[in-house]
Amino acid sequence: MNSFAGFVIKEFKQIYRDKRTLTVLFGMPVIMMILFGFAIRNEISNAEIGILDRSKDEVTHQIIQKLEATDAFQVRAYLQDVNEIEALFREGDIKEVVVFEANFRQKLVREQRADIQIITDATNPNLANLVQSYTANIIQDYVKALNSEDQIEQAGIMPKVRMMYNPELRSVNLFVPGLIAVILMLVSTLMTSISITREKEMGNMEILLVSPLKPYHIIIGKVLPYLVLSVVNVITILILAIFVFQVPFEGSYLLFFAEAGLFTLTALALGVFISSVASDQQTAMMISLAGLLLPTVLLSGFIFPVQSMPEVLQWISHIIPAKWFLIIVRGIMLKGSELLMVWKETLILIGMTVFFIALSLKKFKVRLQ
């Protein structure tokens, strides 16, 4: 046991000596969290809009007030004529113009309908879409209120939309579980595979294998420090998420850490597997980054929902561990899921972990035969 402890101490020393990597390892979760939390948002805030109000009655006035009352919009310009719209868009700052037709209130009362035209700058389609649906929502809400108060009869069906579990549609709530997956992949898979292949490249592995140290001692000794680092990183992200970004945490912390631990094991097993295939650090890095990290970011549902992918990609996404982890963690954090609700996904992760450990053990043996 003395020799194994020495091995682990040496690993920690080497990680600690490598200040640059250390900075990246501990800085990355914080920086990524801030980037994803603040910069990359699916919600809008302070989008500048213009208003062309040809009616200027009580109703349009109220709608405009509603629009202005949200954080989402800022009314920048009141137009007088349709011709001004294009010029305004060309200036570039205005994302949307809301046009009320003439005699708005009158029409609404008499014909039970009045038209509002929403014109958006679709050079950025995502933003245009968001801005437009936000506006529509606000107007819908207003009309609903109007219905009950003023008894203006409304024809047709009013859809009632309710967003469960994430009512404000805050993207940071969705990103946090994804970020945990990505960081764990980076720390556990990438760093482990690099650190093992470095031993191979430098020729140290040969010496270790000739020594009385058992192969599984070497693997566990290599993996243990990164397991510790991963836990530290998960805690960092969680603290930032809860205290800085007010991400709700509905479920049990115990279950969360158990699942995060399981996913870390999956990632570590992958790292060990990669290092048994790759002969040098560069190959290990390429496989980890291109073969694992990219699919994790793109196909796991981290940013793009799996359901809206083409069927082929949906199938591929099944073999990505992070996809299952995301379902579990989103469930725990946002819905308060218990183990009973995520046992299938948990089982899949356990299966994957066992599979990769078995595969790398086999590889390791073959190399020694």
Binding site: N2, S3, A5, G6, F7, K10, K13, Q14, R17, D18, M202, G203, N204, E206, I207, L208, L209, V210, S211, P212, L213, L368, Q369
Partner: protein, 247 residues
Amino acid sequence: MPEYAIQTENLTRKFGDFIAVDHISFEVQKGEIFGFLGANGAGKTTAMKMLTGLLTPTSGKALVTGRDVYTEAEFIKKQIGYMSQKFSLYDDLTPRENIRFYGGIYGISEEYLSQKIDEVLEGTGLKDQGDKLVQALPLGWKQKLAFSIAILHNPKIVFLDEPTGGVDPVTRRAFWEQIYEVAEQGITVFVTTHYMDEAEYCDRLSIMVDGRMDAIGSPEDLKHEFSASSVEEIFIKLARSAKRGDG
């Protein structure tokens, strides 16, 4: 007590159809410096891997320190030291930490290790450099240190795989003096090299061609047998007959 440090009989290793090592039989006496020569791809590395327990032989017999490589590999591992061409020190650790680490994995006790560390640092002239990172050391010192580490646990045999690759002649000479010292302590030295002048320093040597062992004996005997004036001449004669290319 085993009579020989290493003893093999028809030791063979195949990779599919390829016969890397083809029925080699030889003995290495205790305490001698045994040179293991051969062109690239002749099967030296494979043979060495079988003797150090990294590879299982396909067939044949091999005893290292009198122990069977098939069944007693774990025991053999404690009895041998190994140093590769790459020196295999950790660049981002100090010499002191490197010694402590390798001593640790061989299970050397803490008190003995502390004493040993000072001894090695003194012996290699690295006393003042003991706490600097290894990456700052010149190649010659790294080599000395790596060798000292390989024999830290007092092995019966030390395997040196091209230990002088990329080192200048003066340093190489100094290194061979270190080898002689170690041999005098009774440690058997099993060394591979591409430098023919070094081959002349060995007590006995063998030359491998295409997986076979085509020559074995003391440098003098071999020169006589092949009517050549130097080991280099013998080597080239034998290597030219090889059918395998590099690899």
